[in-house]
Amino acid sequence: MSVLSEGLRQKIRDHFSRYPNKQAVTLPALHLVQQELKCVPTEAVEEVAELLDLAPAQIFDTLSFYGFFRDEDRPLGKKRVWICRSLPCMLRGGDQLLAEVCEKLHVSPGDTTPNGEVTIELAECLGACDGAPCILIDDELKLNVSVEDVLRLAGEGHE
């Protein structure tokens, strides 16, 4: 039984014609896998390697370089919320925001809430310093946010 569906495999293959070799499809493929499975399991690494004519070690080498990808032991929640702690956000309360959100949700950065709803991450500069403190929800930036905003946007407002 393969962990990658045929539809997912086809989406990966659709990238082949864009690049002169298949290795360049590594990042696009890992993004597609994590989007669908909320992590990149070891079996998926092996199957992606086979699709791209690479050794699994090559895929794993790239995957592990980017803190972005998760293995099957630490899958992402339904939403992934990145809270920026770099200097422009720090100056306007970013570290405080991160600390309070973690406190309210009883998690540390990198953790997912027990109900699997939301993963909280700390981020370095998200590129929205004009709206510090800012966060990223999945891949949408939200500017000038408060603790309440973060909890609401993360779907963890009030029980």
Partner: protein, 443 residues
């Protein structure tokens, strides 16, 4: 000098439907491309050389000269990579220009592609810019429908495809050879240069890597001419034959302790003080600026008495900073501890060092640990000496690393110790702990 400056790069920001190709063309868009396609590719390069455009991504390298490094008469594929990995703390100009006027950037890509005879363009975009990604994809589809991309563009015989390639949240991918390695599907370890990418870049082929804002400048230079471009900014220093000048307008990002953070476009050469007081509503809460980052945190700090420094390609360097960088100005008020600020910058570089070169991997990690110790009230004067040693030995300037990340890590330390040393000494002597909160990583 700046009161009535008409924005060029930002002229369509906030206009209705500004991302659509129809409104872009109604505003005169794609005229630069049409003019370029009527010239020989080398003439386009000559036009950019004549304008004296310098790269907006941080290094300030002369754009036309970069294109000239490509091998002459090369018959294989040539690649153009667009650096949209903007990750330097304080920097968000690429994001705004892509979200508000994607075609201005995309037009510059086709012009640069034609000039360099590129066969394929890879637009490397940081993952965090999801909205940019979707805006660009839609704009690219519109271009294909109008034959501004694809085969035989507007009957010129020139063909080009643009592929969007998303990053995965790593600062080092903004370094051009790190970007190339990442594009190739590898860990983003910067390459030893030479060979420079123009000789051997993506997929071992000649490659040009240009920043998003640089390409938007190319669009306007082709439309309005190189002479027009040189009427803006700071001319070459006649007493310095090596000075390339600071021509054109620049997107200045202003963040931190100001009343109105945001993006403004002004001629190169505005001072930090003018930027803060006239364009950012002044320092917030009626406070004073203690320190100002002139161009992203890797450029170091200006002190309160250096705020009249012009933010052109030469000004920050004369004040002991690393350079203009990305022109991302971060204002730090006089209620803020420089110990906290420096800890924040050191922590950033420790997090983002790719780990390839030992001096950078160890130097960034230890400087963050030392600053952490100082913040805990457990620092010693010897720690300042250690920080000073690290800042002088890591980077391409002392010659111990492959890329410039470590120079960027070293500069804030250097400037902080030169310009704010008494504050660090007082903090250490007092034995106080920092008041700033910090959460620790779970894993």
């Amino acid at each position: 000098m700046s009161e009535a400056f008409e924005p060029i790069l930002l002229r369509r920001v906030g206009k209705p439907n500004n991302t659509s190709i129809d409104t872009y063309m109604a505003d005169g868009g794609y005229n630069g491309l049409k003019k370029a396609l009527a010239m020989q590719p080398d003439e386009v390069t000559q036009t950019v050389i004549k304008s004296n455009l310098r790269g907006r991504g941080g290094a300030g390298f002369h754009t036309g000269s970069k294109w000239m490094f490509l091998p002459k008469g090369y018959t294989g594929p040539i690649y153009l990579c667009i650096n949209g990995d903007e990750s330097e703390p304080g920097t968000f100009n690429n994001r705004v220009i892509i979200e508000e006027d994607p075609h201005q950037v995309l037009e510059g890509i086709v012009i640069a592609g034609y000039a360099t005879r590129a066969t394929t363009a890879y637009f490397y975009l940081r993952y965090e810019y999801g909205r940019c990604y979707r805006t660009l994809q839609k704009a690219i589809d519109e271009m294909y429908a109008k034959n501004f991309l694809g085969k035989n563009i507007l009957g010129s015989g020139y063909s080009l495809d643009i592929h969007l390639h998303r990053g995965a949240c790593a600062y080092i991918c903004g370094e051009e050879t790190g970007l190339i390695e990442s594009l190739e599907g590898k860990r983003a370890w910067p390459r030893i240069k030479p060979p420079f990418p123009a000789i051997e870049g993506a997929f071992r082929r000649p490659t040009i890597v240009n920043n998003v804002e640089t390409l938007a400048c190319v669009t306007n230079i082709l439309d309005r001419g190189p002479e027009w471009f040189q009427t803006i900014g700071v001319p070459k220093d006649p007493n310095n034959p090596r000075d390339a000048g600071s021509y054109g307008s620049k997107l200045y990002c202003i963040s931190g302790h100001v009343n109105k953070p945001g993006l403004v476009e002004l001629p190169l050469g505005i001072t930090a003080r003018q930027l803060i007081d006239q364009h950012a509503g002044g320092v917030w809460k009626d406070r004073k600026a203690k320190a100002v980052v002139p161009g992203g945190i890797s450029m170091g700090f200006l002190s309160a008495d250096e705020l009249d420094t012009p933010l052109d390609f030469n000004g920050p360097g004369r004040a002991g900073c690393l350079g203009l960088g990305t022109a991302a100005v971060i204002v730090i008020d006089d209620h803020t501890s420089m110990v906290d600020v420096l800890y924040n910058t050191c922590r950033f570089f420790a997090h983002e060092s790719c780990g390839q070169c030992t001096p950078c991997r160890e130097g960034t990690a230890w400087s963050a640990k030392i600053l952490h110790r100082i913040r805990q009230g457990e620092g010693t004067m010897e720690d300042l000496q250690k920080l000073d040693d690290i800042s002088k030995t890591i980077g391409t300037i002392p010659g111990t690393t492959i890329c410039g990340l470590a120079d960027g890590a070293a500069w804030p330390i250097k400037n902080a110790l030169q310009k704010f040393r008494p504050e660090f000494e007082e903090f250490i002597r007092s034995g106080r702990k920092s008041e700033m909160r910090e959460v620790v990583l779970a894993h």
